[in-house]
Structure formats: C-alpha cells, structure tokens
Symmetry: C2
Subunit: 411 residues, 2 copies
C-alpha cells in the first residue's frame, strides 16, 4: 500500500476510488461531547455510580475485557438477534487487535495453519505474519467464501500432517472483493467447519450496509456449537477515530488443571500484554452512542446504508453506461455487482499494477487499488478494486468517466 499512498500524495486532485474509509459527511464534531455526557450520565443514573466512581471509570486503568461490554451485548441482541454473555466479550482497539489476540490464543504449534480466503483483507495476513503463523489460501468464488474449497484445503493440509485450525471470513461485502455469502452457504460453511474441526473467525465490519435493507444472519447467529469467534468493529458504523472493536469469544477452554473458562478470558490475558486495556475515552464515546440510539445501531445507520447503497448503484450504473454489455465483452472487461458494502472489483485484460496505476493517475486523474496486494499467494494481477464509500455520487460519475477513458486507452 506504500506506493498507493505515495501516488495519492502526488496526485492530490485525482478522484480516488482507493481508500476503504467510511463517508465523513455524517460526522459531527459536537456529537463527541454529547455522547461522552450520555455515557457519564448513564453511569451516574442508570448504574447509580457516585461521581468519584464515574471519574475512576473515565480516567483510571479499567477492566481488561472492557467497560462497555454490557452495552455492546444489548446492541448485538437488538441488531443481530445475537444473545451473548457480556463476559464472553472483549472490547479491543479496533477489530485489528481482536485478530491479533484471537490468532495468538488459538495458534500454538508450528503445525497449526490459518485458512483465509483469497483475495483477502490484509489485516488478517498482517497479524498472522507478526505472529509467525502459517497461512494457506482458499480461493473465493463469486458468492464469497467457498465451503467446498475450504473442505478440500483442510483435507489436503491434514493429509500433509498440518493442523488446519481456523478459517477467517468476512461473510458480508468482503474487503476487497465485495462478495457476500448466501444464507445457505453460511450454513454449509458451518457444517464444513464442524466436520473438519475448524473454528471460524468471522469479521463483520460492513454487515449493516446491504443494498437490500433486510440483513442476512451473521455466522455467529447460526452457530449453536460455538464454532464461530466473532469480530466486530465500530469503525464503519460509528467512526474510525475511536478505534473500537470487540470479540465475541464464548468458546469453552479447559485448562491443564481441569478448570474451565471462556476463550474471552484467555484473550484478556493476552490483551494485558498488547494494550493493557482499551481506552476508556473511546469506550465512553461509543458507549454513549449506543445509549443515544437505544442500542439500535443498525437503525441509526439507515441513512449511511442508503448513502452507500446509492453510491454502489451509481458506480455500477456508470460502469454499465460507459461499457454496454457487448462492448464490455469485446474489450475483455468485466466487474462484479456487490450487494452492498464499500467495494467492487473490475477485471481488465492488462496488468493492473503500480505502473498502470501511475499512468492512470497522471493522465486521467483517477486512483484505484491494484488487487494483487490482496492475493498474497499470487493472482489478482488483472483486477482492480474500486471503493465507493467516501465519495459523493457526482464524483463517482466523474471518476468512472475518467476511468473509462483510461481503460479504453489501456486495453
């Protein structure tokens, strides 16, 4: 991503389909004060804390697993119909810290292998690299993670003496591919995990943002056997600057001395070695936001959902208009049609690498992300990722016009 950042700096006026950031137009600076006060009032009134105790809660070192776990549990119930023991929640510094903790807790032996869809989010492969954990890639299909490919990979690894331990998956509107899993594939994935003795690490940052307002169930909501460790993030549903995420880790752990505990408590032990605890400031502001919205964060995000849905529709409509079906085929171009989220992928008949990006930025004033970076095992050289999350519709239209010019020139 270093080159992409550099190009972005060199062409500040380019329209950028690169960053996977949330739209900023709905952020209001003053709301931070309001949310903070809402949380502090909640401590004083709903929880009956005297003012010294409220002060401690905000300023002092806090509970390692977090202080807004009960508020998050209530929100998961209202938004996802997910009933979670608050003690099974660990509040983390973004989902990224959650990934690091989960990988460190689950992977013990050099035989252990993490399975990841390809293409994949760079955060999970980064965390695995930091911890020297072996990763194997499972090709994704147009419908997202592919249970049959996962089964084949697990079988092959086990035959080679390795232990496939867990599968990382973003079931809704994945970064970078934009794909989503059908509900029946979610059931099939869980059956595959059970059969092959795999845990599933579900990462769900974009789940609220379907073009269809009716959501699909999270894997965790379909998981009576506790095979799913669920990672959540408030970066897209509240705001990234709080860096607030969480892990639902309700798996039972049996200690060498026979005592039983929750995976969440193992994650907490590790967290005391990474960040000690998640900033109470961030927890207070996001906690206040959850309270303010009556724990209905999905409802509170309806305006954002419609915005992102319209952006995705604009992006796809403009691509369709620029390259009608026959011409698209003749030129060897294609793209997918994500059902929500921030990302779509365009396939081109030339190498979509840093050099192509540089030409496109210089001559056409438009930026995108080469997909090869999301394929650590190779591949994606003819794909580019377009993110439409933080642009206004008019910029998307102009951006596609410029991109079309570049594509016509480059094919």
């Amino acid at each position: 991503m270093t080159f992409l950042n550099e190009v972005t700096t060199r062409y500040p006026d380019a329209i950028s389909f690169a960053p996977g950031r949330p739209y900023e137009g709905f952020f209001e600076v003053d709301s931070v004060h309001t949310y903070l006060d809402t949380y502090l009032e909640h401590l004083a009134k709903d929880r009956g804390m005297p003012s010294e105790r409220v002060r401690t809660e905000l300023f002092q070192y806090g509970r390692t697993k977090g202080i807004v776990h009960e508020l998050i549990a209530r929100t998961l119930e209202a938004d996802e119909d997910l009933r979670v023991d608050p003690e099974a929640l660990v509040v983390t510094v973004g989902a990224q810290e959650g990934m690091l903790l989960v990988l460190r807790a689950l992977f013990a032996s050099p035989r252990d292998v993490l399975l990841v869809s390809s293409p994949c989010y760079v955060g999970i492969t980064g965390a695995a690299r930091l911890l020297d954990i072996a990763v194997e890639f499972v090709p994704e299909g147009p419908g997202g993670a592919d249970p049959a490919a996962l089964a084949a990979a697990a079988t092959r690894l086990r035959a080679a003496g390795r232990r496939p331990r867990a599968f990382y998956v973003v079931p809704d509107f994945a970064n970078p591919s934009g794909t989503s899993m059908a509900t029946e594939d979610r059931h099939r994935l869980l059956a595959t995990a059970a059969e092959h003795d795999l845990l599933v690490i579900e990462d769900d940052p974009y789940g609220f943002f379907g073009t269809d307002p009716l959501p699909r169930p999270t894997l965790k909501a379909l998981d009576p056997d506790r095979l799913v460790v669920h990672l959540g993030s408030f970066a897209k549903t509240c705001f990234p600057g709080a860096r607030l995420g969480y892990v639902v880790a309700d798996q039972e752990v049996v200690h060498p001395d026979g005592r039983r505990g929750l995976l969440a408590d193992e994650l907490a032990k590790l967290k005391s070695m990474t960040t000690v605890n998640t900033p109470s400031l961030s927890q207070a502001v996001i906690g206040g936001m959850l309270l303010h919205h009556g724990f209905r964060l999905r409802e509170a995000n309806e305006r954002s959902r419609r915005f992102y849905a319209r952006n995705m529709a604009t992006l796809l409509d403009c691509l369709d208009a620029a390259f009608p079906a026959a011409e698209r085929t003749a030129l060897g171009l294609d793209w997918n049609a994500p059902e929500g989220g921030f990302f779509a992928v365009v396939t081109v008949p030339f190498t979509a690498d840093d050099a192509a990006l540089e030409r496109c930025a210089r001559a056409w004033g438009v930026l995108w992300t080469p997909m090869a970076g999301f394929h650590p095992a190779g591949g994606g050289t003819n794909d580019l990722r377009l993110s439409c999350s933080c642009l206004e519709p008019a910029d998307i239209a102009e951006g596609v016009r410029r991109l079309a010019g570049f594509l016509r020139e480059a094919v």
Copy 2:
C-alpha cells in the same frame, strides 16, 4: 496477579498498598471537554485547518505514527531537554503497545536475547512471552540497573552463542523496586551498551515524580549514539484512561535494498498489524492537555509530584516510627528508601507469598503485592511491594499501623 485481584475483591474494606495506579483526586471529568476543544481549536487556528479537515482528523482513520507527534516532541524538548525529530516518534496505545512493537522489530532470530533487570515490570516480560522472545535476567542493585552485572550477562550469553540484543530498563523509580539510577550509572550503562553492542529500551513512566524536584537526565538525553529506544507514557502524567504512550525510535535502519529509514517507520508497519492507529480521540484529549499546559507537562505535574513525595515520606516515616532501627534489625525486617515514584519494598524474615497476603488481609485488613511475581527467574520470596501512589496520607499511616501488626505477628 490473579490471586491479588481476588483477595482485593474479597476484602473491599482493606487498605491496599497493591495497585500501582495514579492518584485520582486531581482528575476532573469536565476537563476532558476542555482539552478536546483546545486541541480542535489548535487544529483550526494554529494549523489553519478548515472545519471539514478538523472533522476528518478527529473521526477518520489517521496517520499510523500518530497525529500529536509534533506536540509530544515540543513537550519532550521543554520537559526533558530532548530534541527529537517528530518523524522518529510513534504514538502508541500505552507504553505497552510500544514494548510489543519494539520487541517485534528488534528481535528476529531465536539466538536473540532480551536482557531485563530482576525484579522487573511484568509488562515487558509479558510482551516478550507473547512474541516467544527469550529473556535473561540481570540482578538489580540498590542503585537500580547494574552496568557491571549487565556486562557480565552479555559476555556470558555471547560466549554461549546467543545474541544479547537489548536491555530493558526503568531508570527512575522502577516498578516494582522503587530504585533509581545515579547519573554516573546512566553514563556507565550507555558505555556498557555501546561496548557490548546492545540497544537500551528505556521506559520512563515515573520520571516526573522525584522527591527532589530536580530531575536526573533520561538515558535518551545522554545518548548521542542513538543506542536508546525511549518509551514514554501519559498514564501517570495525564491519565491512564487515554491509554496514550509513545516511542522515540530515531535509530537508522538499512533495508536489504540499501535504502535507509527510521526504526520508527518499521514500528509503524508493525503497528498497522496490531491496532492500525492510536485512537484520535485519545490523542486529541492528551494533545489538548499538552497545549493547555504550554508543553510543560512536568510543571503541570508539580502538584502531583508533591503529593507523591509526601506520600512516600509518610510511608517511610511511618515504617521508621513503627520499627525503630534496633528493633527492625532484631526482627529481621528492612525496607528501601526510594527517592520518588510509587513503590517501596519491604524485606521480611518469612515467605511473603499469597498465603501470607491472605492472612494479612483477613486478620489485619491491609493488602500488598508479593514480590516473587516480579522475579520470573526466581527470588523475591521474602519481599513485598508497597505502593503509596493512590492513597491519602491518613490511609497510609493507618495502613502501616495494620501492616506493623501483621509483621510483628508473622516474624
């Protein structure tokens, strides 16, 4: 520490010399709003950012190395006479994340060994354990880290085919021992590090809190050869709930392709795999605090320094009064006399373990920390740590009265 937490819960009315937390009496809830506004005004007025840009700064994903690096650099210059390139700073989620990043960046081969004083802070050994880094312990003297013992350990390790890579040290008022290094020992430590090709990881959370208001120089301030990686923390000088720390990593790194860069940029790459970036909320509030105090954080902490100094004096005076010199010797008791900070150590002629702590809590209503937990290589079984940072002087006096009762009974 699990047992200690449990005992603390079971004896809520005990006076506790256990937690190494800052005093809460000076925290003011409303100040969070003030500091946040101060920072936002700084962005708008001093840095000329339009309101949309300010909004981005607060809410959006931010620079991996942090957004208040320039404010921290100005503070280090005013407080420590330390001139640091802001680009060599990485703002972290507490000093703990800094430790994790620094260890991951510096330790590559299984031959590499981290040297740590014994007794030592559990955060550094925890981070090393998380990363499977080998640790060797160097006995601390009454004057803190012992350069001669460090040299001996480095020589012994190298002779055994290992690579002593870095030495972790808290030069001022160490946790848990309360010891401080004399200025001449600081020079000697740096000479030893240079001679034995070691880096020094300096952790400095308590430096402002000397009983003598005239500070000693940090190791980093004495380090023209850039042997010192300096970890800073705002947990004690501002407040822990922000979880804000930083690393000064101005070492030059030469890449395989010959390019040169800063260690700080290597830490940033790793940080993108641990927490992506430090919450801008926390950075904004602490940044506002630095601005509010004109970058003179040491001056702003003068009231705290006096408070902690008086508490330490009260603790030592009460111990002296309870056990006059002759009786102290006769009973086989002893304690050190730290020149500042939060901690002192009492040596007793019996095993100061969890069972002793339990008896003391039940019969005498006073808590302390067994020191053995800070000696991972063994030792400290006759020592207990007393923290006097978050108690009022009257509670310290009553706590020592109770402790004296316990000690008379136990010896």
